[in-house]
């Protein structure tokens, strides 16, 4: 090993993201497209390289094909390196048998040998589920300054939402006095972001102990961190200010995309000093036609726009024919929206076809009962027939014939 890295990152990317329904039928949640040309995993990966962390293990388990293919040799993130770089770590057969990753901690436990090869001082644990820009180097400085064994990134969430998160009660010096997992009556609004830095030697010891423990869920949040806390290890919270979003549900994925159109939202993807890198297709600039109208939207390479686009995010190679309308929607790569079709308050996945005159989704204002409203979702490669109608909240997984 040429240069021993001080800190390596382990990115947990095995989750299914079951609340994203048909969007994660064939891909893992970190591979879900976001923001016109990214996938969720671009954010933690880009944060790593921008923070100077060049050794990243990506732990995959659920539907890894597309994710593995996307990460490839790591070239888009400058992670194709002779020393370090990105490594896909899948569960593997061992002499004592075959095991899936049972929990987040077990996934790291099964890759102790990988980490030992680099013999780092610190290990950064990340999840591939969140949209945020964060300098992990600053967090590492804080970790060292506090002489901590474990530092957990936290952010203050609105009190009314606090009960959905794992919360921490933090002392004035930043040390953590108590943990509360999704409590009914929260006593704190400081939520864990699922970003941890551990002293590797200490973590290693706790992973081995946790594995030996009967009945442990082998999870960081439920098992390993409480065990460390009970033993009086030095646990600190690192406060993060800035945009952070868990895109775990259809609505939050839709929101997080539309956040990009809101100038008040603090997520600048055009920041030269903190680029978000992605693997992009080779496509020419997009074309806006003679009769098109595009406002308050994001459009990327390869799109051919003839219709009206408003408050929407369009991914690469999307075609919107003349007279079609796309409003408050997310349209993923390669989808075609034909003449006179209307796509509103929807997420349309990759390579779908919305035939002429079809209507997908509905505005909440037009609902008799707002409770029934929700974002409509069209799955990968699905065709919605001529003049067909897709109700709000619907999840369409297979072709729908025409209305005639």
């Amino acid at each position: 090993m040429a240069v021993k890295p001080e800190c390596i990152a382990m990115l947990l990317a095995g989750g299914q993201g079951s609340r994203l329904g048909i969007l994660t039928k064939n891909i893992a949640k970190p591979a879900v497209p976001y923001g016109g040309k990214y996938r969720i995993i671009d954010f933690p990966l880009s944060n790593c390289v921008n923070s100077g962390i060049y050794t990243v293990g990506v732990l995959t388990q659920y539907q890894p094909l597309e994710l593995n293919d996307y990460i490839g040799n790591g070239q888009p993130w400058d992670l194709d390196r002779a020393n370090g770089g990105v490594h896909i770590l899948s569960p593997y057969q061992q002499i004592k048998g075959t095991e899936w990753y049972k929990g987040t901690a077990n996934a790291i436990y099964q890759n102790i040998n990988f980490i030992e090869r680099y013999d780092p001082e610190y290990v950064l644990i990340l999840s591939g589920d969140h949209i945020y820009k964060m300098d992990y180097a600053k967090m590492l400085d804080y970790h060292k300054e506090k002489n901590a064994d474990c530092t957990i990134a936290m952010l203050e969430v609105p009190w009314e939402e606090a009960s959905r998160f794992g919360l921490m009660i933090v002392n004035d010096d930043g040390s953590i006095s108590e943990f509360e997992e999704k409590p009914k009556n929260p006593r704190s609004n400081k939520a864990s972001m699922g970003v941890y830095i551990f002293n590797w030697k200490k973590l290693r010891q706790y992973l081995i102990e946790d594995e030996a423990k009967e009945g442990s869920g082998n999870d960081f949040g439920h098992d390993v961190i409480p065990a460390m806390h009970n033993d009086g290890q030095r646990m600190f919270a690192y406060q993060f200010d800035g945009y952070w979003k868990d895109v775990g549900t259809i609505n939050s994925l839709w929101d997080a995309n539309l956040d990009l159109l809101n100038p008040k939202v603090d997520l600048d993807l055009n920041d030269d000093s903190w680029r978000i890198y992605s693997r992009s297709p080779a496509a020419p600039p997009h074309y806006i036609g003679e009769n098109a109208k595009v406002e308050n939207s994001m459009v990327t390479e390869g799109c051919e726009i003839g219709g009206n686009i408003d408050f929407s995010v369009l991914f690469a190679n999307v075609t919107v024919e003349e007279g079609a309308e796309v409003k408050y929607s997310i349209v993923m790569p390669g989808t075609v929206i034909k003449k006179g079709a209307v796509v509103q308050y929807s997420i349309v996945a990759e390579n779908a076809v919305i035939e002429e005159g079809a209507v997908v989704g509905e505005s909440p204002e037009n609902m008799a009962n707002v409770e029934d409203w929700g974002v409509a979702v069209i799955g990968n490669g699905v065709t919605i027939g001529k003049g067909a109608k897709v109700e709000p909240q619907a999840m369409i997984d297979s072709d729908i014939g025409g209305a005639e």
Binding site: K37, A283, P285, H286, G289, I309
Partner: protein, 370 residues
């Protein structure tokens, strides 16, 4: 792949003199084109798409922007241990001085050509905009057992110096060539893309060197009777950039869907350096018609019949018509542009107006602030 027995050679500086405005600071090959490309992307991608895996890029002067753009060749999958892309900078052999013509430039790289071990060499300039199937060109070359195969197009040739018309028999064998002086009728004109047998190329280069002939085309034309030269017709969207005016006209022709479809095909993509720009953002009140817009643009004004490169800002109330605005330029509030070519990173402050004519576009240089 079929064309794996071909060495690719690109002349990045050939014809620099025809667009002095755009080549003042760069090579012909690094002239920005079509919103996110440089001219060299077209021949380079054509080569890679044909399976050519060893490419030499001949440079002469002002090639920093070119090197910045092509780097190690990664974007074209040409950064390799075996073969891959090599930049061939000028090389002063004792007593030769600065390289002059193409023959001289090739002679300078004769070791590289010899060592390639390939049986054929494909030579091309950068100012031909075409998604050309080099594999088909190579197959025709082999099928004819040709020494040289020259790609040509049929039509009214571009106005340029030293345009060559090729005259063929019924089997496409070239029987004669002549320098064009007429630009009004349809002829078969050379696209300056040719495949030549490597050993023949080496022999011709040694001869040219000893007889002090610079112009490579002349050497080929002089030998038309002695070597088997064939023509290969290329159809579809083929444009030769021969002046600032033709740069402007050809650029705007890409606003037509049928032209884009021919130049940007899914099975033979055009690769370029990736810049990781965010998708283009359209503000409230933006109005864009019949235009090509690259990533990283922020548009709050009006854009019509124009091409915006990556990272261009169009402020509120600004109007851009019939214009080409290159990477990173800024068009201030209530400013107006009509028939203008703006080079990279220029700034037009608020309330300014610049107008050219469609047959005389105004050119604003790199980094200029108005």
């Amino acid at each position: 792949m079929a064309a794996n027995n071909v060495l690719g050679i690109i002349f990045s500086n050939a014809n620099d003199e025809v667009i002095p405005e755009l080549t003042a600071l760069r090579t012909m090959g690094s002239i920005p084109f079509a919103g996110r490309y440089r001219l060299i992307d077209f021949p380079l991608s054509n080569m890679v798409n044909a399976g050519i895996s060893k490419v030499g890029v001949i440079t002469k002067s002002n090639y920093r922007s070119l090197m910045d753009h092509i780097g190690s060749g990664k974007a074209w999958d040409l950064s390799r241990k075996r073969e891959g892309m090599t930049i061939l900078p000028p090389y002063n052999l004792p007593g030769t001085g600065m390289i002059k013509g193409k023959a001289d430039a090739l002679y300078n790289s004769i070791n590289y050509i010899e060592k390639s071990g390939k049986d054929h060499v494909l030579l091309t300039d950068c100012n031909v905009i075409c998604n050309m199937d080099y594999e088909a060109l190579y197959k025709a070359h082999v099928a004819n057992d040709a020494d040289v195969t020259v790609a040509y197009a049929k039509g009214i040739p571009p106005r340029m110096e030293a345009n060559t018309e090729i005259i063929m028999d019924e089997n496409s064998r070239v029987t004669d060539t002549k320098i064009l002086d007429c630009y009004s009728s349809d002829v078969n004109y050379s696209l300056k893309v040719m495949i030549i047998r490597r050993t023949l190329l080496e022999r011709l280069l040694h001869e040219a060197h000893s007889s002090k002939i610079d112009d490579f085309e002349t050497i080929i034309c002089n030998n038309v009777k002695h070597i088997r030269i064939y023509g290969y017709e290329v159809t579809g969207f083929i444009k030769v950039i021969g002046s600032l005016q033709s740069y402007y006209d050809i650029s705007l022709e890409l606003l037509k869907l049928e032209n884009r479809k021919e130049l940007f095909t899914a099975d033979r993509p055009v690769y370029t350096k990736v810049r990781d720009e965010v998708p283009a953002f359209y503000g409230i009140g933006a109005s864009v018609k019949n235009s090509l817009i690259a990533d990283g643009c922020r548009i709050e004004g009006e854009v019509e019949n124009s091409i915006l490169f990556r990272g261009v800002t169009v402020a509120k109330g600004a109007k851009i018509k019939n214009s080409i605005v290159m990477q990173g330029s800024f068009i201030g509030e209530n400013s107006t542009l009509d028939c203008v070519i703006i080079d990279k990173a220029a700034v037009l402050k608020p309330n300014k107006m610049l107008c050219g004519a469609s047959n005389y576009p105004v050119y604003i240089g790199k980094g200029i602030v108005i």
